[in-house]
């Protein structure tokens, strides 16, 4: 038993397993388990995982998940995270309402 005040046996907690349930991409609801599985199957770049699982395609455009996923790729490939390509970052910088950019006087005016 641990010294912790609760009565759980912490020595039996499998943190790697716990991590699997973490929702890494909250926009598209993709879990760590899915990301690790697909990296192991050879989808070991951010852009491949994006195309396969849609990570980074939601409203936040990867702001929430990119770092975590790059770290997972780095870990799986045993390559420093600084050497993992960050994946393509696309415009616009922030989601922008269509009416704000819509040009008037085009083909329909």
């Amino acid at each position: 038993m641990s010294d912790c005040c609760c009565n759980h046996d912490h020595s039996k907690v499998d943190f790697a397993k716990m991590e699997e349930d973490i929702v890494v991409c909250r926009c598209e609801e993709v879990t760590m388990k899915e990301i690790r599985e697909w990296i192991a199957r050879g989808y070991d770049t951010f852009d491949e995982l994006k195309r396969l699982l849609r990570v980074g395609m939601g409203p936040c455009q990867g702001r929430g998940c990119r770092e975590i996923i790059l770290r997972e790729i780095s870990r799986a490939k045993c390559v420093p995270v600084s050497e993992i390509p960050s994946g393509t970052i696309r415009p616009p910088v922030k989601p922008i309402k269509c009416e704000l950019t819509a040009r008037k006087g085009g083909d329909f005016e």
């Binding site: 616009p92 989601p95 269509c98 009416e99």
Partner: protein, 388 residues
């Protein structure tokens, strides 16, 4: 991961055309198939396209091919064992001029004669299909229920997973640098990763296919044309429940089942320079965003408050008649082309099977010989009045 020094066939290009070819070659019993991509699978036009397929073309060959593709797409998830995000609720074609409406009527006549029961729709029927559509300036509509869309990346990856199960070796970040040839036949492929001995090469490099062919000394007219596109945040699904398309002005818009709207148009609408375009570089421009959000908010006024989350571009593979270039080179035995003419996602699953059958069995049910590029030397062009 060991490098294969010999192969029964080498496929160049990991888009839909190449991946389907590799999968079908292996499925038909070829032992050693290697697929090369200079980037990653689905990183070119397939992973950037508008995700749609249709039988509603204006030329006989495209209708036959499109019809075969719909039949294929309807069963792909089962065949490949992976969901491809299929959605079928037709293309709603919109005519903004009387000339376009006449074109629609001719297309419908041809399509109906080839077993594609497309039909004109009334304004009320169109509004029933797409309740938010601004119809006041539209002269007419036509539609065919079995046209639709699917997730192009998942479709390509599903082929990749199935191909790997059949023994196909996929080499990413591998660029072709040359070919070994003797006495009018291809003997091998040189790449930045090493050499592969093979008697069969299938060039499915899309807009780069002309340049790849030139490495084998062949002059085949395929070049790139950059098209732009954007996706919005996910919104309630009934904003655009059918694929919307117009030829003049040329644009399309659709909504994926996840709620994201996708919209794009031809480059002559927003680029300053005049057509024809011969592009080597991808890129995104503000002009496109302004122009296309203008179209989207006009056609679907409810989208004014919907946010664009991402814009990108992809390469159309342009051929002289905008039609596929498929077949074995007359002067170089074993060197095959499998280029779609900018419809790689749509035609890929069928074109891949067609080419694989022709290579392995020497026969295929579809009229593959019609797509050979030697038609250009004879001055023959395949015509279609329904190309955007």
């Amino acid at each position: 991961m060991s490098w294969k020094r010999t192969a029964d066939a080498v496929v160049i290009g990991g888009g839909m055309m190449g991946m389907a070819t590799a999968y079908h070659l292996a499925k038909l019993g070829m032992k050693d198939v290697v697929l090369l991509d200079k980037n990653t699978v689905s990183s070119g036009a397939t992973g950037r396209c508008a995700a749609a397929f249709r039988a509603t073309w204006g030329g006989e060959l495209n209708i036959i091919l499109g019809k075969a593709c719909i039949e294929k797409y309807e069963h792909l998830s089962e065949e490949l064992g992976m969901d491809i995000g299929l959605y079928q609720n037709g293309y709603l074609f919109m005519a903004y001029s009387d000339a376009q409406l006449e074109n629609f009527k001719n297309c419908i006549k041809l399509q109906n004669s080839l077993g594609v029961p497309s039909r004109l729709l009334t304004r009320d029927e169109a509004l029933e299909l797409c309740p938010g559509l601004f119809v006041d300036d539209i002269k007419g509509f036509y539609w065919y229920k079995r046209d639709g869309h699917a997730d192009p990346m998942l479709t390509c990856f599903a082929h990749q997973e199935a191909a790997k199960r059949e023994g196909v070796k996929v080499e990413k970040f591998t660029e072709v640098t040359g070919f070994k040839m003797t006495a009018g036949a291809v003997k091998g492929v040189c790449t930045n990763k090493g050499y592969i001995d093979t008697n069969i090469v299938i060039n499915a490099a899309g807009s780069w296919a002309g340049r790849v062919a030139s490495l084998a000394g062949l002059a085949i007219p395929v070049h790139g044309e950059r098209h732009e596109i954007f996706a919005t945040e996910q919104v309630e699904f009934n904003v655009c429940p059918t694929f919307l398309m117009s030829y003049d002005p040329d644009f399309y818009m659709q909504q994926r089942p996840n709620g994201s709207l996708i919209a794009g148009c031809g480059p002559s609408r927003y680029r300053k320079e005049a057509a024809p375009f011969n592009d080597a570089e991808l890129g995104d421009c503000w002009n496109f965003l302004e122009y296309m959000t203008g179209i989207l908010t006009h056609v679907l006024p409810r989208t004014k408050g919907v946010r664009v989350v991402r814009q990108w571009s992809g390469m159309y593979d342009i051929t002289p008649d905008m039609q596929p270039v498929i077949g074995e080179a007359d002067d170089l035995k074993g060197f095959w082309m499998n280029v779609s003419g900018s419809r790689g996602f749509m035609f890929g699953p069928v074109a891949g099977e067609m080419v694989a059958e022709q290579i392995i069995n020497g026969y295929t049910a579809l009229p593959i010989e019609k797509f050979h590029w030697n038609r250009y030397a004879r001055g023959e062009y395949l015509l279609d009045t329904a190309i955007a």
